[in-house]
């Protein structure tokens, strides 16, 4: 079935891409790899689209660069590139880990982090990884570009604040981890049914000796949008890295989430149990990666 869209554009500038969006006035869709959208389209789950705008050939946005304290990822960069890039592995390990479990290898070869974030699913793995790092996204429209925290881009399941009819997610960035920082990601799956996470979570910690001085935690699905777990992260700051600290942060996280039983995927109790088991685990892992002996 091939009537899902009529025109396929692969513009090489942002301006050209925005012009196409303007011209189609809501009837064009931007894709990276298109691995989410096109599967749904092919199954007939979506209404036909007039035009596809492939954002992976925009010149200058197909690579990973460094600018000041930031690592910058263009919207054309695939998960595979992120996973294997030594700078991401070194300066943003939880992002590398989270992008490494998305879909399968073939999907990671075409799917992009920008697409993962823009799709705004409640538990996009790459999204969870980027959020824990405190990452930002750059949204470009005809009036110019603006950076905003990744955590503030979600409106609901599959709904982003990005105006997909007039804007493009052009770049993503995060501040490089310094030597006293560590990050970690973990996901719990089941071998049956849909390949969606039971729970995904990530953290980034900065240490001063054995004391946690800055923290970020993200997880999903624990609600309609990926959650940046500020109350739990705040509970870590100023505390020594210890089992008690990790468990306390976990307790606070569990107080704030609204876990659901999702049919054929996980019970609420199981999700809670997985957070209780794995959040302390990734916190300890991040501390260790920050160079603190455990």
């Amino acid at each position: 079935m091939s009537t899902a869209w009529n025109r396929y554009y692969a513009p090489d500038t942002v301006t050209a891409a925005l012009d196409i969006l303007q011209r189609y006035d809501g009837r064009a869709r931007v894709i990276g790899g298109g691995t989410d959208l096109l599967v749904e389209t092919r199954r007939g789950l979506r209404r036909p689209i007039e035009a596809i705008v492939d954002a992976t050939r925009i010149s200058g946005l197909d690579s990973i660069t460094e600018e000041g304290d930031y690592i910058i990822i263009g919207c054309g960069v695939t998960h595979t590139t992120i996973v294997s890039d030594p700078r991401i592995v070194r300066y943003g390990q939880c992002l590398s880990e989270s992008c490494g479990v998305i879909g399968g290898p073939q999907v990671r070869n075409t799917g992009t982090l920008a697409g993962n974030v823009a799709h705004a699913l409640p538990a996009g793995d790459g999204t969870i990884g980027l959020m824990a790092l405190g990452g930002d996204v750059e949204v470009t429209g005809r009036d110019g570009a603006r950076w905003m925290p990744a955590k503030d881009t979600f409106k609901g399941p599959g709904r982003s604040v990005i105006d997909r009819h007039h804007e493009i997610l052009t770049r993503l960035r995060f501040k490089r981890q310094s030597d006293n920082e560590g990050s970690a990601f973990h996901r719990v799956m089941r071998p049956q049914g849909l390949c969606l996470p039971i729970i995904s979570m990530a953290t980034r910690l900065r240490m001063n000796g054995n004391t946690i001085v800055a923290a970020g935690i993200s997880m999903g699905p624990v609600g309609p949008v990926p959650w940046f777990a500020e109350p739990a992260a705040e509970a870590l700051v100023g505390q020594p890295a210890s089992t008690e600290t990790f468990n306390e942060a976990t307790r606070i996280a569990l107080e704030h989430v609204s876990l659901r039983t999702s049919k054929y995927r996980a019970t609420e109790e199981y999700r809670e149990s997985m957070i209780r088991t794995w959040l302390p685990n990734i916190l300890a892992n991040a501390v260790q990666r920050a160079g603190v002996p455990t």
Binding site: M1, S2, T3, A4, W5, N6, R7, Y8, A10, G34, T35, L38, V39, R42, R43, I52, D54, T56, T80, G103, G104, P105, Q106, V107, N109, T110, V188, R190, P191, Q192, G193, L194, C195, Y264, A266, T267, E269, Y270, S273, M274, T277, W278
Partner: protein
């Protein structure tokens, strides 16, 4: 239309195509590179993988214009100067090719890996392969041979894994690649969807999509008027019999009065394109009056249940099957320990990676009328043109397809020809009619070739599944470890139509108590009609279900008795001289004890323990044994006719061709038949061609089911070849043609005693499982297996069957459940049905046991189903040994298992996908 420029397999390509096309479509349809297959169109199965700029991508969801200006490499480009690529050679050497539908995907994904590692100057590890091929599915091989092949292709010295077998004769016993493997690895092998005929139309089917309803009206007028539509047919347009069915003819070709399940066909459309046909479906108005849904086999038998087939005197009871032996009360009175438990097994899906496809060709079709030429390969030469209605299909039973299509067309069977194409996996799921008759009807209605290709989603909706069952089983034994009695009651969900329910559930019933010598047995099985998707044949044929109950009870009994579970099984194992529960005296060929001994020996290395800890994980061994009949049995006439032609070639010496209408679905039948014939002719198997499944050219080999082909068709081929050898001895240098009609030894119906089957094959398997105490996740770390197959005709393809069967049964234990909710499948897309990937496939140690069956060809007996029977209970027994939790429903649900481990519960009742507890059932009661 727009210009698309790519470099495909090194050649510049410039085509004018719609921008809406996917890469797989352009490759297959515009460039006719049909080596790239499409299995799901959901980016799930990976068989469509090609390389774009050296990177593996799934071409089924890859927009063709995304490849603008890029390099695209497909399987067809791998051979250089006629020489196989190292991966192709290795896949051949290791027998990593069975049905062949996924082979291009596996090889291209692996090529991406090998090239990347070579560029980085890194060695390829097994972990690399598991990571790279995680989403490149194969349903046949079990992946072990695939891993070994890729390691070999990367330059490592890895030999094909071949268990020890008896010394080969000249040909029988020689490991050889399947004769069709070469075409499969090179991408030239043609499956049904790879054929295209001049003037061909594309068909689609209007499905009921509701489980149970009376049809009030069907209005196809608007659809008929749509531009590009050539025909819309309903029940009113059927010239002959409006029903099909292999055992009972109860399945409408096109429903007119009522629909009984979601996949029922109401109308069929042929149009210029699949898109137009799809649009036409939406214009067909069907008015229904919905009826109550019969959703499960227990409520189906209640007095107040509505009847799925109103005209049946037995209501929803399809068949009550009984096994009776000895005195049950006396047996249980003699028992010191009794285990009485109820189990549940899920509906499961074959998920052959080639969705169903049929092409119908009208009688007298002339391609020249459409400006095309004769496809010499498709017509098998000039002598066999399309002078009668012809159906191209990958089918397990070509002659049954022919006869059923002829009945509906209202013509004699000889006026229909079925040409069996290669089949991308079957596993029992391609025995019933799907699109064959529809394609033929539309071809005759339009005077054009018509292709009826199912989408993956339609395939999931339509074809019969493995029966879901509920099994209560009570097993008694004495203190000294002797089984005294087994009582069991089974409920099997047959779905809306009979399909093979009666046969499948008879097998579940007769094998229910396991391969043991048990004096007192009573088993009742209720096969029922419901409004679920029909259930039919699936590798293991009912035995897979009842074995789970039997072997779970065996371990529990052993524990209660304080006996080692292996020793307990030894004390009761069937042996020569013993009598089966149906009264058959085992006169020969019972290798069960040797199977048990071989597995037990390997499992019990030094410092053997049943269970131990490794960090957060607990490991344990579990064991199960089983058996499976060879052939149809039960008094059914079981025969095959083979034709052998032999002639002297001036260069190659004596050559021969074996012709028989049996099905090759990847199991390796051509190699087996070639070896059997070659052995008799005294020539190399490489000099014997095998032509399968053309009803005009090949005599009937009978159904490819019941693990019968090696035995029945193997005997027919061997005896026809022997006749040919004898004729050649009389007239050397001549061309001889012989036919041999082979009848399997007569069998007795169930309940009459005597030989119900011509023989049995036996199996023992041990599974080493790892349970993560933090998550409840279960991983199989290793399998040790021993299979008594009588005689290994081709050890390479035999081992492939074993490994693939085991991994399929791992899926049964851990991943697979086709979920129906009140007759409607939740499992509507492949993304919702997981079969084992390479990451689930453990290393397998395999032993071949060869207790010859004197009536088998060279002693061989059936084995295609045998490996897929005992793995599930071996795994759940291991889970029990690790955790103390007995799993009563499959597939294992980590959520429930973890909950049980944490709360100290001793049983898990809910499998993944179950919503309700297992119902309580009374022994022997029908409701």
């Amino acid at each position: 239309m727009s210009r698309l420029q790519m470099v495909v397999n090194g050649n510049a390509v410039d085509v004018d195509v719609d921008e809406s096309r996917y890469l797989s479509d352009v490759l297959r349809e515009d460039l006719r590179l049909t080596g790239t297959k499409v299995g799901c169109a959901e980016a799930e199965c990976g068989i469509c993988t090609v390389l774009v700029d050296d990177t593996p991508v799934v071409s089924c969801v890859y927009p063709a214009f995304k490849a603008q200006g890029r390099r695209v490499d497909t399987i067809e480009g791998l051979q250089q100067d006629g020489k196989l690529h190292a991966l192709q050679q290795a896949f051949l050497d290791h027998g990593a090719v069975q049905c062949g539908i996924c082979t291009a995907g596996l090889i291209m994904t692996a090529k991406g890996l090998l090239d990347r590692k070579a560029a980085a100057r890194e060695a390829v590890t097994e972990d690399d392969i598991r990571a790279a091929l995680k989403d490149s599915y194969c349903r046949c091989t079990g992946y072990q041979s695939v891993i070994n092949a890729i390691l070999q292709a990367s330059g490592q010295d890895v030999k094909p894994y071949l268990p020890e077998t008896r010394a080969p004769k000249t040909e029988v016993g020689q490991p050889r690649p399947n004769p069709n493997a070469l075409a499969k690895i090179s991408g030239s092998a043609r499956f049904t969807d790879d054929y295209a005929f001049p003037g061909m139309l594309f068909a689609r089917t209007k499905r009921a999509n509701i489980p149970h309803a009376r049809i009030v009206s069907i209005d196809a007028a608007a659809a008929r008027k749509l531009d590009g539509v050539h025909a819309v047919l309903t029940h009113e347009d059927i010239p002959g019999r409006n029903a099909h069915g292999i055992v009972s003819v109860d399945w409408p070709v096109l429903c007119g009065r009522k629909v009984r399940y979601v996949g029922d066909a109401v109308a069929i459309v042929a149009a210029d394109s699949q898109d137009i046909a799809t649009a036409a479906l939406d214009l067909i108005e069907v008015e229904y009056e919905e009826l109550p849904v019969v959703a499960d086999p227990i409520s189906a038998l209640r007095d107040d249940a509505v009847h799925v087939h109103e005209e049946r005197p037995d209501g929803n009871l399809l068949k009550h099957i009984k096994v009776r032996r000895g005195d049950l009360d006396a047996g249980f009175a003699a028992a010191d320990v009794v285990i009485d438990r109820t189990y549940r097994t899920p509906t499961t899906e074959h998920l052959f990676l080639e969705p169903e496809c049929s092409i119908g060709i009208p009688a007298g079709y002339d391609p020249a009328r459409f400006g095309g030429a004769v496809d010499a390969e498709a017509t098998r030469g000039e002598t066999a043109r399309h002078d009668k209605t012809t159906i191209y299909v990958g089918s397990q039973i070509p002659y049954a397809d022919r006869d059923q299509a002829a009945a509906t067309l209202g013509v004699p069977p000889t006026e229909v020809r079925v040409v069996a194409t290669l089949m991308g996996g079957g596993f029992g799921g391609k025995e019933d009619i799907t699109g064959q008759i529809h394609a033929a009807l539309l071809a005759e209605a339009t005077g054009r070739p018509v292709k009826m290709l199912y989408s993956r989603q339609e395939s999931l909706l339509v074809h019969p599944k493995r029966h879901a069952t509920i099994i209560r089983m009570r097993t008694g034994a004495t203190k000294d470890g002797r089984l005294t009695a087994v009582e069991a009651t089974l409920y099997g969900d047959g779905g809306a139509y009979a399909s093979l329910s009666e046969k499948v559930l008879t097998r579940a019933t007769t094998h229910a108590s396991g391969p043991y010598d048990i004096p007192n047995v009573r088993v009742d099985c209720f096969a029922t009609y419901t409004n679920n998707v029909p259930a039919g044949a699936f590798r293991g044929f009912g035995v897979t279900q009842s074995c789970f109950a039997a072997e779970s009870n065996m371990d529990s009994l052993a524990e209660e008795l304080g006996l080692d579970p292996v020793e307990f099984r030894r004390r009761n194992a069937l042996a020569v001289g013993a009598t089966t529960v149906t009264g058959q005296v085992m006169r020969e060929s019972v290798g069960l004890m040797e199977c048990i001994d071989k597995v037990d020996h390997d499992m019990r290395g030094e410092d053997f323990r049943w269970a131990w800890d490794e960090g957060d994980r607990r490991l344990a061994w579990g064991l199960a044994v089983g058996y499976k009949n060879t052939g149809l049995g039960g008094g059914a006439p079981d025969k095959a006719t083979a034709e052998v032609e032999a002639w002297q070639d001036p260069d190659k010496g004596l050559l021969a061709e074996v012709r028989i209408s049996s099905a090759e679905m990847g199991q390796g039948l051509p190699g087996v038949l070639a070896a059997c014939a070659a052995e008799e002719l005294g020539i190399s198997a490489e000099n014997v061609g095998v032509l399968l499944g053309d009803t005009d050219v090949c005599p009937d080999g009978g159904p490819t089911t019941a693990s019968r082909q090696t035995f029945v068709s193997g005997n027919a081929a061997r005896l026809a070849a022997r006749d040919a050898a004898s004729k050649l001895a009389d007239a050397p240098g001549t061309r001889v043609v012989t036919q041999h009609e082979y009848w399997a030894p007569a069998t007795q119906p169930l309940g009459t005693g005597g030989d119900m089957h011509v023989g049995f094959s036996f199996v023992a398997q041990a599974a080493l499982c790892e349970i993560d105490r933090r998550t409840g996740e279960v991983q199989v770390r290793r399998i040790i297996a021993a299979h008594d197959v009588g005689r290994a005709i081709n050890p390479l393809t035999l081992e492939g069957q074993i490994e693939g069967g085991i991994v399929m049964c791992i899926g049964y234990a851990l991943t697979e459940h086709y979920i129906l909710e009140d007759g409607k499948p939740w499992t509507s897309v492949m993304a919702r049905y997981k079969t084992p990937s390479i990451t689930h496939a453990p290393p397998i140690t395999s032993h071949i046991v060869e207790h010859a069956l004197s009536t088998g060809p060279f002693g061989a007996k059936g084995m295609g189903e045998l490996p897929s029977i005992v793995t599930a209970p071996a795994i759940t027994n291991a889970i029990y040994n690790a955790t103390g939790v007995r799993v009563r429903s499959l597939p294992v649900d980590q959520d429930s298992l973890l909950h049980a481990i944490r709360t100290g519960a001793t049983e898990v009742e809910l499998g993944w996908g179950d919503r309700d507890p297992i119902p309580t059932i009374e022994f022997g009661a029908s409701h």
